[in-house]
Assembly symmetry: C2
């Protein structure tokens, strides 16, 4: 399980490091991550408006950047759905 956790952290950092703050996802970085890495898990991953809306719903302090823990909440919801645990 630790290697799977480490994979998620590393991939988050790869996308978060592309512009601006290397520890948060900008809107563009979030779009890239979702379309490249979560295309089967996120509904309408290829629809920019849907992904924008998803980002807004996760960005609790509305600063236009997602922290790792904000992103983690999304991954938990996706994992919970996929695992059949409900929300």
């Amino acid at each position: 399980m630790e290697s799977a956790i480490s994979t998620i952290v590393t991939q988050f950092k790869n996308y978060a490091g592309k512009d601006g703050s290397s520890s948060t996802l900008s809107k563009e970085e979030f779009h890239n991550l979702v379309s490249s890495q979560l295309s089967n898990y996120v509904q309408n991953a290829g629809d920019p408006a849907a992904v924008d809306q998803l980002m807004s719903s996760l960005d609790e302090n509305n600063d236009g950047e997602l922290t790792f823990l904000e992103f983690w909440q999304l991954v938990g919801k996706l994992a919970s759905q996929k695992g059949g645990f409900g929300q």
Copy 2:
């Protein structure tokens, strides 16, 4: 990233399915999971009292069982620490 998420879900289910509710971790299941799967990430993973205390801190409704999303909060904190994001 999706395969890493799927790995965590599958491993959670493997441990959660050992006794009682197959969708939640009992105290014994949580001990087994932490000592087998998170021994490098959880401090004092081999100390039953420390693991008990950790479980209590995660079990928000105090029912003695951890749901997937309660467990997910722990994994997020561990991942955040390992990734150097703070809490």
